[in-house]
Assembly symmetry: C2
Amino acid sequence: MAKSDKKIIKNFEEEARNVISAFEANKNPKITLPKRGLSNVYFDKKENMIKLGNKKQTRTFFNVSQAKKFMQMFLLAAEVKKLIKDDVTTSIRDLFYRTKHTIGDTKENTFDDQSESDPIIEDIEVAFDALREELHLFASSRGSLVGNITIEDAGDTINCRKLGSGGWAIPSICEDDIIKFKKSEAKFVLFIEKDAVWRRFNEDKFWKKHNCIILHGQGVPPRGVRRLLRRFMDELKLPIYVLVDNDPWGLYIYSVIKQGSINLAYESVRMAVPKAKFIGLSSFDKEKYKLPNAVTIKLSDADKKRIKEILKYPWFQKPKWQKELTHMLKEDVKLELEALSSKKIQFISETYVPDKIKKKDWLE
Amino acid sequence: MAKSDKKIIKNFEEEARNVISAFEANKNPKITLPKRGLSNVYFDKKENMIKLGNKKQTRTFFNVSQAKKFMQMFLLAAEVKKLIKDDVTTSIRDLFYRTKHTIGDTKENTFDDQSESDPIIEDIEVAFDALREELHLFASSRGSLVGNITIEDAGDTINCRKLGSGGWAIPSICEDDIIKFKKSEAKFVLFIEKDAVWRRFNEDKFWKKHNCIILHGQGVPPRGVRRLLRRFMDELKLPIYVLVDNDPWGLYIYSVIKQGSINLAYESVRMAVPKAKFIGLSSFDKEKYKLPNAVTIKLSDADKKRIKEILKYPWFQKPKWQKELTHMLKEDVKLELEALSSKKIQFISETYVPDKIKKKDWLE
């Protein structure tokens, strides 16, 4: 049993004992947990990440509006405890089905929809200070990886230098009891927004020439990819470069990787990658690399609105970022990674990224 | 250079010579290619797949409504020829950016949007009888694979029995010049609709216990996964079992794998898997496996409409299929794969699938 397994079971049992004691003493059982809403989220400037504040909420059993949630929390926690004891993992959808049933002779279901069980899982995460993965739960997996590293995955040793065109499919649970880093020569990690562009870098053996690890998460990276990036930063002390489209969506992806997300602020402590560097595309790249007008895309009204919002985010207040974003608005265009192919198909892997890294031409 | 590379270049050059000769003889250059629309699609009962018919269309250069498409076709083909000669692959989005430019001093672009270049790529595929992958083009990649097989991918030997929890990320190009099948003990292939359920089968080492290969494509399988399934059928002579939700979407996925899709009917000849077997979920499984009502989902009006359409498809006319679909309508519920977890998390991998295979309880 992993260390986190023991800790979680211990905490579950302690909380359960408290509730039982309250019942026995004819008191109203209660659980106290951190508030998860926007009202309790802040940007920690020093650590450079979005965090959950100190506000708490209390959920009591003898309360018409809270009794169901109270029951659901214990129902899910009991099932999670079984998962941990049996040493199996499952999906949050599966957990919903496992725990969904009609109560006694009533017509009332424990849950009607997964949209009811998912937030309770998040409640359990914050209440017990455990990542979803530590609760043996997984979300969807996406993305793949190749490069100069050997990884142990569930007991198998995987040489990521020998994985052909496909690569290692990054699993959704990348905690260190399952995924272990073995021998690695890599000097940096390159995260690429799109799988198609990742394929370009792999086909050109960029990771071999530049001694690194390359990975993608098919758009907004799923939890497994984010956790892996964080662990590369923490455990291997590698610089993490993020390569995304020059549009609000690309900026969002970079931002989720670096600062964490507002919705899941309580995870930042273990999922955010505060040292991640934005390597491009930059709104200055059009001039810098003399890209033709035909490969630019005019900003939509929604894009402009989004950029103006991003300009106000506390984590984009550095002068360099303000300059970058203001320039994007002024140019009135966005650029996709594929726009670089107008010069040469391998321009992005042979020239653009090596040039950016060499010149330290990135934003943080 | 692969055999298909040489064939394509030869055919490109031949077609180009014809066009030049026509110009020189002051004639109107033309290209003849199969029609791709619904009017030229039929179901081949004998081969059990959706195919393209014999209707042709002609595209001429001196024709106001066809000149641009004519130009686009040659522009894209010229770029594809370069890809083949340089032995590199690229994405269809990249190809769009490579060939998008403003024409001379005009304000006219070769393409304005990728929705213009994609259909022309499909035209080139049918005109030259070449799969997109043979044109060195790839679409998005999704899905992963583990099991009792060794695969050579771009020169690297990958032992799919030793790939941990993640597996081999299935690339988008799975043609036999890149992906080669080496040693395999597997007796069958199990395709699973959802990545989360695939993880269940991998965690339980289903492929080891039952000597098989398991793979998923994250929903509707992308081209790489479909091509791989087809090659497993053709080259390794393995039975292919398809495991999907019991809903119209699951039936669609099964149908695309088995018969091919209407939109891309010309690909069926090399992408469809006519021997694929539908192993579940079946609308009879609720009774057969005594699943509680709470885990069923009522059919929506859209579901019912879709099932009634499916009932009329020529490839669902076998009495067993009609019975299956009519029963689904009568029961008025759908079932997700995760519904089986209400019995036990490992019910699907330990009992359901082994039971179905043992009893040959499938539909074809």
